[in-house]
């Protein structure tokens, strides 16, 4: 049936979206469904051939309702396939965008080892085009952040600041970490009473937990 493959693709997209909303694998995209995509493209190709053939036929035989119907169905299926493909791609690109924002616009390759949450980001789950997109978007974000608005740290906390000083607990042993404001000696299971703005970045990275 036309559109079956597209259905599968859409289901996959929906599943990914639900998983990410539920909080699992927020940083992980499932593998790019290369085969499905290619299958759909092939389908579109064959539909196109049908359409071309039908169009020619129409020129000769105007009242062939069957042919007209086939024509319409083929056109609609093509359109649908296109929409499904684009929807899938858009969803993945949006997830990539949010990942870049969450990781402070850092390149993933450098951030892998440092980030405790992002234990194993596998860039092989992305297609080639996506990888390029990711790089370019990360760069775009870095440029954006370093402009006029560098002071306000666009990738900072999106919740209103509460107290000036907060209690945070250290989740991982990380030795001494230098931040702009000072050096923090991160010993696992110790507790700090420090200024919130100092440790915001570390909380985002997952080293500290706010109490």
């Amino acid at each position: 049936m036309y559109g079956d493959l597209a259905n599968k693709l859409i289901l996959e997209a929906k599943r990914t979206q639900q998983l990410s909303q539920a909080g699992f694998n927020k940083q992980q995209l499932p593998v790019y469904q290369d085969e499905l995509v290619r299958g759909i493209l092939k389908e579109v190709g064959s539909l196109k051939k049908n359409v071309d053939y039908l169009r020619e036929q129409q020129l000769t035989d105007q009242d062939n309702k069957v042919a007209q119907c086939q024509y319409v169905v083929a056109m609609l299926s093509m359109e649908r396939n296109k929409r499904c493909l684009l929807a899938y791609q858009k969803m993945r690109s949006e997830m990539l965008d949010s990942m870049v924002w969450d990781n402070n616009g850092m390149e993933f390759s450098s951030a892998i080892s440092n980030h405790p949450n992002l234990s194993s980001f596998d860039s092989s789950v992305l297609s080639h085009a996506e990888q390029e997109y990711l790089k370019e978007y990360a760069q775009l974000l870095t440029e954006l952040k370093s402009g006029e608005l560098s002071e306000i740290d666009l990738t900072g906390m999106l919740q209103p600041p509460s107290d000036v000083f907060i209690d945070v607990r250290v989740l991982k042993d990380a030795g001494q970490i230098e931040t702009e404001y000072g050096v923090f000696n991160l010993i696992k299971d110790s507790q700090f009473f420090v200024r919130q703005s100092d440790v915001e970045r570390l909380i985002q990275q997952g080293y500290l937990q706010k109490i």
Partner: protein, 664 residues
């Protein structure tokens, strides 16, 4: 140096000034993680610093090696370090490898050196809050950058030691190397002199001339060295004084929470919350050091009366503190009456509940009180109100018969609005259980299975690689380290409970019930099988199997079992109170966790008599010495140095040596 109670406020102000930098964290507090008194004290301290907006870091530590490790990794911003519940008995300067020269900050001009009251600035200053006695004298008298918060012990009882210490330093400075060089020749001189003296004594008349001659000769030769010899003898005597001081055995004589509370009164920041924390800290000492508890109780009662507001309306937010009769029963208000009697250390000791006779006596007692057994076995919350009301009266009438009159004492009850009330001792039970086990709801199952399965997992994965590479010692260290990390995580659950988190509190109570039950069953098994051997100078109990063996890997649980046993023996020993050595086997690491517990007086004994003959724990010194002598593979890492970990094979010879050494 040390400071008395009056100077606490000064030291506190000093810390404030040192650590109030606006941008970096300059204060680190190390806390002993298996000590509830330290937990409460550090909670009070950190709240105090929070109010002053001082940035600080709180690090719970398990043992000395960890402490050293962390200390040496501190960065330069840190300029004040506070040790709570640890560090008092160890020469910190040498243990932490602090170089006094390097630590001093700022130029020392000649002009400054002349002034006697120059205040040296140190890069890192250390403040020690510890109630373990004996104090290490180097910390007290010998170091300028270490400040020990003393509760008056030094002024009252250590004057002799203080003099001895300073004298020793004087002599050392004077004689310096000569002490060692001349030792041989001086010994010979000594011998000859004693021989001469003997001769002198014997032959008074005949040897007058000889005396004179000898005396002349000796005076000629020895005159310049006479002062040396005298000094040397003095030196040895003083050393002996200090040695005796150190080998007398250790104990806890005060509560950290009370010290912090006196600091608070000095500043004027006392309130009910702090008082409650203080009470909790002191109540935790009741189990093992009842003397301290009894001594501090009237002080606490006065404070409660002073701070309680006069209107006593109950609102959802009110957090009242009241003095109410409290029972030495085990979690009376959270289990059933029967269980609380059955599992209580005290009742067991008096009635010997571990055997059938004891149980019968318990039943008879309930019968006398007119409470049917079915009622006693109901949960307290659902128990008939009539009985609850009359309980006080019934106890008064009937407990005397069984010698249980001291069950009822004054205790502290805290009400949390409409959420319920809990007494200090129950709260302490809950926290202890949390420290032992943690607060996950499946924490207990995890203990049994996780330790085993975890081992299997890591073993399977790593065995191919590690089995032949890793030495036994490393493996044991690794296992013990992971366990210690878990205990440090438990520290934080208990910390959260102190914020009045009711959920964790009830978790803790459940765990406490379970733990006490297991302790009871283990105790019963021990007594029935007569696993406790009476070895003249101490009692020994070695646990090698049993269903709950894994629980005793935690020193706190081991001490719980130990105190159950020793309380039993305290009541039932006719002649002499003996200390107890309790060892449990840990199969995963092939070591024994061995605890030496000081003898205890039976409850209710005359306090004066107790104070005259203090029971000190000699095992701290004894273990260290024996370990050094036998060369056994021993880890003495815990802050309570009477708890050690010893290799399985080395236990037997160790104990034999211990028995023969006469150190106990």
């Amino acid at each position: 140096m040390y400071i008395g109670i009056a100077e606490f406020v000064g030291a506190y102000d000093k810390i404030l000034h040192r650590c109030s930098s606006h941008s970096s964290c300059q204060l680190v507090i190390f806390v002993s993680c298996l000590n509830i008194d330290a937990l409460c004290a550090s909670k009070m301290l950190s709240s105090l610093f929070k109010k002053q907006l001082v940035q600080s870091q709180l690090v719970p530590v398990f043992g000395y090696s960890e402490l050293k490790d962390h200390y040496q990794r501190l960065d330069e911003n840190i300029n004040s370090v506070i040790f709570v519940g640890c560090g008092g008995m160890v020469d910190l300067e040498s243990f932490l490898e602090i170089d006094p020269q390097e630590n001093t900050q700022g130029p020392l001009d000649e002009i400054q050196l002349d002034k006697t009251d120059v205040v040296q600035k140190f890069k890192k200053e250390i403040f020690v809050l510890d109630c373990h006695r004996p104090w290490n004298l180097d910390n007290l008298f010998g170091s300028q950058c270490i400040t020990c918060f003393d509760d008056g012990t030094v002024e009252e009882s250590l004057t002799e030691q203080k003099k001895a210490y300073y004298k020793l330093i004087e002599i050392e400075n004077e004689l310096g190397d000569e002490l060692d060089d001349d030792s041989d020749s001086e010994e010979e001189e000594d011998d000859r002199e004693t021989q001469n003296e003997d001769k002198d004594d014997d032959d008074d008349d005949d040897d007058d001339d000889d005396d004179v001659v000898l005396g002349k000769r000796s005076s000629d030769e020895l005159n310049p060295k006479k002062s040396h010899k005298q000094r040397k003898r003095e030196f040895h005597n003083l050393e002996k004084v200090l040695q005796e001081y150190y080998s007398q055995g250790s104990t806890v004589l005060n509560s950290l929470s009370v010290q912090i509370y006196s600091l608070l009164s000095g500043i004027g920041e006392t309130n009910l919350d702090y008082l409650w924390l203080c009470i909790l800290g002191v109540s935790s000492l009741d189990n093992s050091f009842p003397l301290v508890y009894n001594r501090l109780l009237p002080l606490l009662k006065d404070e409660v009366k002073r701070l309680t507001p006069s209107e006593k309306t109950k609102t959802p937010d009110s957090l009242n503190l009241e003095i109410r009769p409290d029972y030495s029963l085990f979690l009376l208000r959270h289990t059933s009456l029967y269980d609380s009697f059955y599992y209580s250390n005290y009742v067991n000791a008096k009635l010997s509940l571990w055997n059938e006779n004891g149980k019968k006596r318990l039943h008879k007692m309930f019968a006398r009180m007119g409470i049917p057994l079915s009622v006693t076995q109901e949960n307290w919350i659902y128990m008939d109100n009539n009985f609850k009301r009359d309980l006080g009266v019934l106890f008064d009438k009937n407990l005397d018969r069984y010698g249980l009159q001291d069950i009822v004492r004054d205790g502290f009850l805290r009400t949390f609005g409409y959420r319920g009330s809990i007494s200090a001792s129950e709260f302490v039970e809950s926290i202890t259980a949390l420290l032992e086990v943690g607060n996950a709801s499946n924490a207990l199952e995890n203990l049994t299975t996780a330790n085993v399965s975890q081992k299997d997992d890591t073993n399977q994965g790593d065995e191919e690689n590690r089995e032949y590479e890793e030495a036994e010692e490393q493996k044991i260290n690794r296992i013990l380290k992971t366990r210690q990390k878990k205990w440090i995580a438990n520290f934080w659950s208990s910390w959260d409970v102190l914020d009045n988190n009711m959920d964790i509190l009830s978790q803790g109570i459940k765990h406490a019930t379970f733990l006490q039950r297991s302790v009871f069953e283990t105790g019963v098994a021990i007594l029935e099988k007569r696993l406790v051997k009476h070895l003249r100078i101490y009692r020994l109990c070695v646990l090698q199997d049993g269903p709950d063996l894994h629980l005793y890997r935690n020193p706190l649980t081991l001490l719980r079992l130990g105190s159950w046993l020793i309380e039993y023996y305290a009541e039932n020993d006719e002649k002499q109170l003996l200390p107890l050595v309790l060892a449990t086997l840990d199969e995963t690491s092939d070591t024994y966790l061995c605890a030496g517990i000081a003898p205890r007086y039976p409850r209710g004994l005359d306090i004066l008599q107790q104070q005259q003959q203090k029971t000190l724990n000699n095992f701290t010194v004894a273990f260290q010495q024996i370990a050094a002598e036998t060369g056994a593979k021993v880890r003495i890492d815990n802050f309570e140095t009477s708890i050690i970990e010893i290799r399985k094979d080395d236990l037997q010879p160790f104990l034999e040596r211990l028995t023969l050494s006469g150190l106990i």
